[in-house]
């Protein structure tokens, strides 16, 4: 059973290992999705963490519909954090240390009696500068692969217009789910049980995004297993990009490909190429 993936239209129903890229025009749209996401988190006894560029007082107001925010903060059920207190905004993040931090925070939540961590991050300010994009993409991919293993769910908000559409599309592609505002390519490359899963559809016009996603994800990944169970369509352009990628990885210990759908076997046979 592959993790939930594809296009979504609500912050609820993502599950305890959900990870969504949420594009928005107005900040209120992300807050609405966060309230849906947090309502699920509360129901499944996850610790909530809200991270944005707004001052904490403003964050409290935005999250007021959840109930007594003050009491939730006091008892440790909700953490409110400002981005500037955690990150040197405008500079690239270190994906490895960030993921270590998320993992430790999830383990701490479990130690405190919660089922895991439910993290909503309004990340726009982290990716305003072009120099931050590549490291941030790696962070998202690495965090996704970690999240699926440790019981962390995350809703990542990005304001449309603050970064190029292509970067927002790349971010959407390396989350298992994305809303329509963020989604550019009809595929997702995400972590699942120590493997990378490629789901959705790939054609000539999404192949460049696939190449970028594979490069980011496999740079970030310790694993080089690729699962194609959720792949619904791929044309010869996408297939050849995938084959070229696995050939490149073959030079560094190889990449095992699992659950090849019939269309991939068909293309292997007709083009006389192996994955």
């Amino acid at each position: 059973m592959v993790r939930q993936h594809g296009c979504i239209n609500s912050g609820s129903g993502l599950g305890p290992d959900g990870h969504a890229c949420w594009g928005f025009e107005q900040p209120e749209e992300f807050v609405d999705a966060t309230l849906e996401f947090f309502t699920d988190g509360l129901r499944s006894n996850q610790r909530l963490v809200y991270l944005s560029s707004e001052p904490v007082a403003e964050q409290r107001e935005r999250l007021a519909p959840l109930g007594n925010v003050g009491a939730m903060v006091d008892r440790g059920a909700l953490h409110l954090l400002e981005l500037k207190d955690l990150y040197d905004l405008g500079r690239p993040v270190d994906p490895v240390s960030q993921v270590t931090l998320f993992k430790a925070a999830t383990e701490a939540a479990r130690a405190d009696g919660y089922s895991g961590l439910c993290l909503a991050t309004q990340s726009t300010e982290m990716v305003r500068e072009p120099c931050t994009w590549e490291a941030h993409l790696r962070l998202e991919s690495r965090a996704d692969q970690m999240a699926s293993a440790v019981g962390m769910s995350a809703l990542c908000g990005y304001q449309r217009g603050a970064l190029p559409e292509s970067v927002l599309g790349d971010l959407a592609a390396i989350h298992p789910t994305a809303n329509a505002v963020a989604e550019a390519a009809p595929f997702h490359l995400f972590g699942e049980s120590g493997r990378l899963v490629l789901g959705g559809e790939i054609d000539r016009f999404s192949t460049p995004a696939l190449i970028r996603a594979l490069t980011i994800a496999h740079t970030a990944a310790e694993t080089t297993s690729l699962d194609l169970e959720a792949l619904e369509f791929i044309d010869h352009h996408g297939f050849e990009a995938l084959a070229a990628h696995t050939r490149r990885l073959a030079a560094n210990g190889g990449c095992s490909v699992h659950n090849r759908p019939p269309i991939v076997d068909r293309l292997c046979g007709l083009l006389e190429m192996e994955l």
Partner: protein, 311 residues
């Protein structure tokens, strides 16, 4: 006896008109035996029943002949040139190669007969430079219509019958992809598409294929083939195209039209080399569909991808 004439013969491609099994065997068996005696590599590509007739008539020497069933390799006649090309790569060309191929048979549909004629015309282009290839193509005059028989004359430089052979006055290699395909005979689902609609193209084809009752594998093959051809329209045919889908006489037909023009008449009939950047889309479509028709000229390109309901 090993005649050295093979090197001098060049490429020969002739139609052989026959009526009934007796004339068929009288014309084809001596032709094959001559090749076997000369030490040539001999390939026979025939419908199953005719293949068995030839095998029986040749007796023990049939072991020296390679037999392919036309229904396997040439169901879509556009797969025949790459199959021949692959076969020739395995042959010692110095010895000479002799073929017997009957792509046009009375059980073919009108569209298939039309494509068989195009295949026969393109065969001349594809193998024009071969120095030691002789191919005879039998045509059943008692079962085929006049148009199919005239097609044989248009596509073969030499025509033979029980009473001798002569150059064909109708033979022509001009603009093989020119001409127009018939308009849909039934109401069609239509979609104008560009780059942003490619997923919709796939989903629409998949839905129509399910509705028509195509099996899942044929459905997936047709979706892939149409996507490849529609991608060609977007990339090389003016950035956009039209898709029309209808069913007719037990086939689901997808027509992809655009304003581009195809210059290479052998497009989709040469196995793509790994280093080649283009030329995979129509080649794949030919491998995936029961029949693919391509017509191209100054008014644009029309590609028909056909899949039978019965698989």
């Amino acid at each position: 006896m090993k005649p050295q004439a093979a090197q001098a013969r060049g490429f020969r491609h002739e139609a052989f008109f026959y009526s009934g099994d007796e004339e068929f065997l009288a014309g084809t068996v001596p032709y094959l035996e001559e090749g076997i005696c000369a030490g040539e590599t001999v390939l026979v590509v025939l419908p199953e029943r005719r293949m068995e007739l030839v095998r029986e008539a040749l007796g023990a020497t049939s072991n020296e002949v390679e037999f392919w069933q036309m229904g396997d390799v040439g169901r879509n006649p556009a797969r025949l040139i790459p199959a021949w090309r692959d076969f020739l790569r395995t042959c010692d060309l110095q010895r000479g190669v002799r073929g017997l191929g009957e792509p046009v048979s009375p059980d073919r549909s009108a569209a298939e007969v039309e494509e068989c004629e195009l295949h026969e015309r393109l065969f001349n282009l594809a193998f024009a430079k071969e120095r030691t290839l002789t191919v005879m193509c039998p045509y059943d005059t008692s079962g085929l219509g006049d148009e199919a028989l005239m097609g044989a004359e248009r596509s073969h430089p030499v025509c033979a019958g029980p009473h001798g052979r002569s150059a064909s006055p109708r033979y022509s290699l001009d603009s093989p992809l020119a001409g127009e395909l018939a308009e849909p005979g039934r109401p069609a689902v239509t979609l104008n598409f560009d780059k942003s609609d490619l997923a919709m193209v796939r989903h629409l084809v998949g839905q129509c294929a399910r509705f028509a009752g195509l099996d899942p594998r044929s459905n997936e093959d047709l979706v892939l083939a149409v996507c490849e051809v529609a991608t060609n329209s977007i990339q090389h045919g003016g950035g956009k195209g039209e898709l029309h889908i209808w069913d007719e006489d037990g086939e689901l037909i997808c027509a992809v039209r655009d304003s581009g023009r195809i210059d290479d008449p052998l497009v989709g009939r040469e196995r793509p080399r790994p280093e080649q950047e283009r030329g995979r889309g129509l080649w794949l479509a030919n491998q995936l569909c029961d029949l693919v028709q391509v017509r191209s000229g100054s008014c644009g390109t029309d590609v028909r991808l056909r899949m039978r309901f019965d698989g």
